[in-house]
Symmetry: C2
Subunit: 342 residues, 2 copies
Amino acid sequence: MAGRPDRLTLADVAERAGVSRATVSLVLRSSPLVAESTRIKVQRILDELGYVYNRSAASMRASRSRTVGLLVPGLSNPFFAELAAGVDQILDEAGLALFLADSNESVAKQERVILRMREHGADGIIICPAVGTTKDLISRLDAWKFPFVQALRHISPQGDYAGADYEIGMDRATEHLIRLGHRRIAFVGGEHMHSAYRERRDGFVACMRRHGLSPDFILKTPLTRQAGMDAVAAVLEQDEAATAAICFNDVVAFGMLLGLSDRGLEPGVDLAVVGFDDVAEASLSRPPLTTVATLPNQIGQDAARLLLRRIADPHGLPERVILPTRLVVRASCGALRSQRVA
Amino acid sequence: MAGRPDRLTLADVAERAGVSRATVSLVLRSSPLVAESTRIKVQRILDELGYVYNRSAASMRASRSRTVGLLVPGLSNPFFAELAAGVDQILDEAGLALFLADSNESVAKQERVILRMREHGADGIIICPAVGTTKDLISRLDAWKFPFVQALRHISPQGDYAGADYEIGMDRATEHLIRLGHRRIAFVGGEHMHSAYRERRDGFVACMRRHGLSPDFILKTPLTRQAGMDAVAAVLEQDEAATAAICFNDVVAFGMLLGLSDRGLEPGVDLAVVGFDDVAEASLSRPPLTTVATLPNQIGQDAARLLLRRIADPHGLPERVILPTRLVVRASCGALRSQRVA
DNA sequence: CTGAAAGCGCTTACAG
DNA sequence: CTGAAAGCGCTTACAG
C-alpha cells in the first residue's frame, strides 16, 4: 500500500518543519550532514505526525530495497523452520525485511518465486535448492547479478555457502560405532540425491573403508518415522544382519527405535541405533538417541551474514562457512554411559 | 535491488517493440485493451530481452505492492511453521510475495517488524500476536487503515480471524474421558494467558461443570516435554490423585507418557493421557497418543484467503473462520481400540 | 487500440 | 549546512 490515501510524505513533514524535503530525507537516514538543532526539530515533527517511511519510493531511487529473500524446500520440516528463524534474527538486527517462500521441493515453484523476488527488488537471496535443481541456476543467478548464498544444500561449489560438516559428522558417528565393536553397520534413510545426502553417505563410506569394513549396506528410504520402523526388518533379516544402524536423520532413527520395541527388541542391545540432527526430541526418546548435532539456527544466521556481506561487496571472494557438528552420545548406541565427544 | 545497473526498463522494451511504454505496461498486466497482434509482438520482445518487471516502481505508482506480511510468535514451533506453509501456498497461487517475521513472543520486536512491513508497503498483515500484546494494537492497525487478520490467537474480537475451535475440541476430549469413567481429571500445561490458552481451558472447565465434576485441578507448566515429565508427580502424588490428564498440547502429553514409563507405570492404564494438536509424532508415540487435531496448515490458508478478501474490500463485514477440530482416539487414554469420533 | 504527459515519494548530485 | 531540480520505473487519466 505504498501511498495509502492519507499517507504522509516527506513534503508534508518538510513543510511542517519549515525545511526542504532533502533535509528531512537526510534526517531519516541519520546523515551527519544535518545540523543537530535541525535534526531534533525535524525528528519531533516526524514523531508528532506519525510519518511512515515509504521504502518502495526509496528503493526505486536508491536501487536497493533493504529486503532479502529466503527460499526453503519445506517449511513443515522443523529443520528449515529453524534455519528461517536464524535468518530472521540476523536480518532483523540489520533492519532488513525477509521475503520467505517454500518451494516444496518443486523446481517449478522455485523458479516462480525467484522471479517474484527479483521483481520485488530483493537485494539478494538465500537458497536451499529444491531436489532436482540443476547447476545452471547458479550461472543464471550470476548472470542476473543477483547476490545469493546457498544454505544446507548446494548445487554448485561456486559462490557463498553456509552449512554443516555433514561428512565429518557422519564419519565420527560411524567411528564411534566401530569403536564400540560393530563391524556390520547399515546406513539407513534418504532417497533423493543432493549434497546433504551425498556428504552424509560419503562420511559413512569413508570411515568404513578406512577401517577395512564394507560400506555397502546402504538402505534408501523416505525420511519418515514410518520408513524407519519398516527398515528394521530389512536391517535384521539378512544373511548377514547388521549389529548397528546409522540413520540419515533423527526422524528415521526414531522410527527404528519404535520398530525394535515392537518386535520386543532393545535398541542399543539388539541393534545399536544412531541418528543425525539432534532435534528437540532426541534426548527424550526411549532410549535417548545418540545423534549428531547440526545447529540449523546458527547456519541460518551465518547464511544471512554471508548474504549481507555479499550484497555490500558483490565482487569479494566467495566464502564457505561449514559449521562443525557434534557427536552426542546417549543410550541408543549401546554405549554404557552418556558422554560427549567433541 | 530495484534498478540493478543493467536492468531493462519498460522504455527499452517499448523502443525495441516499436510501441509506447504505456502499451508495454498494458501487456504486462494482461489488459484486454491491447490488440492481440501487439500483445504477441511485445510478449516476444519481453521474453527475448529477459525483462524483469520492477514491482517497486509499479507499487509506488499503483499504491499496492502485491506483498503481504505474516507475523508469528515462534518459527521454531512446528505449529507456526506449518501455518506459514499454508499462508505461503495461498499467496503463491495469488501471485503475492510474503514478508515473514518472527516476534519470538517479544512485543517490542513485534512493533518493530509491523512498522517495517508498513514502510515496505505491505498490502496487509496476518498476525499471531505475541504474548502480552495489548488490545490497542488492533485500534492502531485500524487507524493506520492497515488490513489485518488475526490467526490462531486473537487479542480482540474485532476484525477478521482464522483459528481452530479450541474450546469445543477440548470439551469433546474431556467428554471422552468422562465417558470412559474418569471423574478426577487434571488439565496440564500452559503458563501464559492468551486466547488459545483461555479457550482450551474453558472447554475443559465447561465440560467438567456440565457433568457436575470439579474443574479445578489445573496445572500450569511450560509447554515442554520436560515439563510434562515433571507434571506426572504432581498429578499422581496428591491426596486426591487424578486418573486422567488432558494436556494443553501434544508436547506436554509426550512428556507425561515418558514420565509414566520412567516410573514403571503404563499410560492408559495407570493414568489416561490426552494431548492436543495431533502433531506428526502423535500416532507413533508409545502408546499412540489420543489427541485433538487442529489443522495449522489449513488455518494458514484460511487466514491468507481472509486477508486477500479484506485487502480487496477494506470495508466489508469482518469474518471469523473457526475450523472444527477432530478428536483422534488412540491408546493413551485407555480406550480399548482405536476409533475416530467426528 | 495506442501514445504523450504527469506524477507516485523518495534520493542524489549540484549550488549556494 | 540547506534547498531547488532532476529522475528512479512504473501507471493513470486523457487525447486521438
